[in-house]
């Protein structure tokens, strides 16, 4: 085994003619993607870094202004508001979604009749296009004739203004975002299938109860999946845009003005591309920092076969 890998290493260092040929062939095959990546992703990313140091309104050519966009961001009260709103939605929304999708996945992992039907039903909302979901929720949460408030009224609770009330608009968005837990639920389900049955059997023999089995087997075995869902949750919630753009447009009183929405406004409504590029880079740094913290503190994650 070891000998083989050593020769492989040696071979890799000096490729044969045939290998070089197949390398070029392989590169040729991926070249459409490589070209697309370089032109449509890599170039714009680095161009935006340059634009973030300029005053650029798309129509006239960019003018270099150094770090002024970043200084302006620091002074812009709406930048702070949008950052706060984004963090608020992430701090409430991500743990709730993580918890809810895990619970649903565990329930749907029990052996019951029509298991497949239930799984489909819970996943179905994730298939609906985001725009349709946003429009639907706007109607669900309508203060006067939305079903949510009608149910509340039926049990004697006066329904809040939801999206029309700055105090309730963010909780309303969190509520609406839970509609999409089906996506992470499916990932949990896949993770649950991978938990070895013999662990549960051994626990049964040791007399573990239901909670203990969840606490000492399911959760540790699932922890890499939880970490994955947490990271994806952070990335997507920092970039939240579509549903909020449609449901509130950032209002009322900027109470749902999230980072990506404000970035979009600066770029495509105020044509301040330089400013928007600076915002994009700040977001990248914030996201990277958040993920670094998550990875640093991920001691709770158990990787099978690694001590």
């Amino acid at each position: 085994m070891q000998g083989r890998s050593a020769t492989a290493r040696a071979r890799r260092a000096r490729m044969t003619r045939r290998e070089r040929r197949s390398l070029w062939l392989g590169l040729a095959f991926v070249s459409p993607w490589l070209f697309g990546f370089l032109v449509f992703t890599a170039y714009p990313v680095f161009a935006s870094l340059y634009f973030s140091l300029t005053d650029y309104n798309v129509v006239s050519s960019p003018r270099f202004i150094g770090l002024r966009n970043y200084v302006d961001l620091w002074r812009d009260p709406l930048f702070g508001t949008s950052l706060y709103n984004t963090l608020y939605l992430a701090a409430i929304g991500i743990p709730l979604a993580l918890f809810l999708s895990l619970v649903i996945a565990m329930l749907l992992n029990t052996k019951i009749r029509f298991q497949g039907v239930f799984r489909t039903i819970y996943f179905l909302p994730s298939v609906v296009p985001a725009v349709a979901v946003a429009l639907l929720w706007r109607w669900f949460l309508n203060p006067d004739f939305g079903p949510v408030n009608q149910v509340l009224e039926a049990v004697g609770v006066p329904g809040p203004g939801w999206l029309a009330d700055p105090a309730w608009s963010k909780p309303a968005l969190v509520l609406a975002s839970l509609w999409g837990v089906g996506g992470s639920m499916v990932i949990y389900l896949a993770g649950l299938q991978n938990v070895p049955v013999q662990l549960y059997e051994a626990a049964d023999l040791d007399g573990a109860n239901r909670w203990q089995r969840v606490r000492y087997i399911t959760l540790p075995m699932l922890s890499p999946v939880i970490l994955f869902n947490l990271i994806m949750g952070i990335i997507t919630s920092f970039q939240a845009f579509t549903n909020i753009y449609i449901m509130t447009g950032g209002g009322p009183s900027n109470s749902t003005m999230v980072y990506a929405l404000y970035l979009y406004q600066n770029a495509f409504q105020f044509f301040k591309m330089g400013y928007a590029s600076a915002m994009a880079w700040v977001l990248l740094v914030i996201t990277a920092a958040a993920l670094a913290v998550i990875f640093r503190t991920s001691g709770w994650v158990y990787y099978e076969g690694r001590s």
Binding site: N57, N142, P158, G161, A164, D165, P166, S253, N254, F270
Partner: protein, 437 residues
């Protein structure tokens, strides 16, 4: 080597491409034929911004122009005016159409950035001047001595009231408010709340803040110097009054009520349904009410103003035709533009849109005059004899309106003093304007 490979590919696909190739050959032949017959014509591209029946009117005008001469052929396509990204991309890419339709607030920002062709020379050569246009309209779309576009048609706002709601509340349906005090009193009388305190009808709903700035004697910019005057005492007074309105009727209650309003261009428009008794509304309402609320009993008049304010404000908005500086066929585009904005065509176009033609001679044309109803006559009268104001022709127009929205929001929430809020906007706008000096 490379050529060889291509050739091999060609052989590989020949079987599949056979019929397609035949079609392509026929198409090339047809194109060649068309090119031979119309070789003298220069083709220009024109983006118009109206769909449906309004778009059909534009298309009919284009067809008429094409049929009337051999030198220029206009190829038109419908590009929604809201598609600013597409317009911007075409300008930034350096290959824009020869004539584009844009919102009024885009004209000066694009012009000041050097993206648009100043029309002054062409207009002077054609003998078109300030006197041909309605009073106050020539400066619209101009910035520091350059005219960057011609208005397509004009929209003018008036003060609308629902006469049936007035009668129902025991008020004289023929007597709209003349002063701000009367407006406040009527708003209170016409507002209805249910047992829970939720609004069922609001007496008056202000939407376009700038109207009240001007009605209170203020202004957003100095028309002589083109300097912003956001913190003008008249503006402060108007915003203070609006703040009091929002305190009285509670912005959150209003928002909750608003969440149940229907689409403006539908029978569920809150004004048509009596959910709003008094509001601002443009001359398009003449067409809209006929279409969506034929039984609605409404009137339109000038905006109420306080003592010492302006009792005759005529807020004007609209879209523009602009020729990009990078357009390839500028002389032809200008020829078409001059034809399109000539009195006869302008009158027919405005009549079809229920808008007002920007030129005095077009306004007098029978093609337009035969569409004038008593309500439309009121709007026209406001435009002809009132204090006309348009969105500020500043390169930072959109930034300014966003800043004003922020100021309004902070006053609505009671988090800022109106004067301080407007002073902040003034400072920010001045700072943003420095980039254009």
């Amino acid at each position: 080597m490379r050529r060889l490979r291509v050739a091999r590919h060609g052989r590989l696909h020949r079987a599949a491409r056979g019929p397609l190739r035949g079609g392509a050959l026929a198409a090339i032949a047809a194109l060649a034929l068309a090119a031979a017959t119309a070789s003298a014509a220069t083709e220009i591209t024109f983006w118009y911004a109206w769909g449906g029946s309004e778009g059909a009117v534009v298309q009919a005008l284009v067809d008429e122009y094409n049929a009337g001469q051999d030198a220029v052929r206009v190829r038109s396509s419908f590009v929604p005016i809201g598609d600013g990204e597409r317009i911007l991309a075409s300008l930034a890419g350096g290959a824009p159409p020869d004539l584009i339709t844009v919102w009024d607030w885009m004209v000066v920002p694009l012009g000041a950035s050097g993206a648009l062709l100043p029309l002054d020379e062409a207009l002077a050569a054609a003998g078109v001047g300030e006197d041909d246009y309605l009073p106050g309209i020539w400066a619209y779309g101009s910035y520091r001595g350059a005219k960057f576009g011609l208005p397509t048609t004009l929209n003018v706002y008036g003060f609308m009231w629902n006469k049936d709601v007035f009668a129902e509340a025991g008020l004289d349906p023929e007597r709209p408010p003349r002063t701000i005090e009367e407006l406040d009193a009527l708003t209170a009388q016409l507002t209805v709340t249910d047992a829970r305190g939720n609004l069922r009808r609001i007496g008056f709903y202000p939407n376009v803040t700038a109207i009240y700035f001007y009605a209170f004697g203020g202004q957003l910019y100095d028309p002589e110097t083109l300097e912003p005057t956001i913190d003008h005492p008249g503006n402060v007074a108007a915003l203070t009054w609006l703040g009091a309105y929002y305190r009285t009727y509670d912005i959150n209650r209003i928002r909750r009520f608003q969440a149940g309003w229907g689409d403006m261009a539908s029978p569920y428009n809150p004004f048509y349904r009596g959910q709003v008794a008094m509001q601002e509304g443009g001359q398009w309402e003449v067409l809209f009410t006929r279409q969506y609320a034929p039984d609605l009993n409404w009137g339109v008049t000038t905006f109420p103003a306080p003592e010492g304010g302006r009792p005759d404000v005529a807020p004007v908005q609209g879209s523009f035709w602009v020729v990009p500086k990078a357009a390839r066929n500028q002389p032809e585009a200008l020829d078409f533009l001059l034809w399109l904005t000539a009195p006869e065509q302008s009158a027919r176009f405005a009549a079809a849109l229920a808008n007002i033609p920007p030129r005095a001679d077009a306004l007098a044309m029978p093609a337009f005059q035969e569409t004038v109803t008593p309500e439309l006559a009121t709007y026209i009268d406001m435009l002809l004899h009132g204090f006309v104001f348009t969105p500020p022709p500043l390169p930072v127009g959109l930034y300014l309106s966003d800043q004003l929205n922020r100021a309004l929001a902070s006053v609505q929430d009671g988090t800022a003093d109106p004067r301080e809020a407007l002073e902040t906007v003034q400072r920010n706008v001045e700072r943003e304007l420095e980039k254009y000096r």
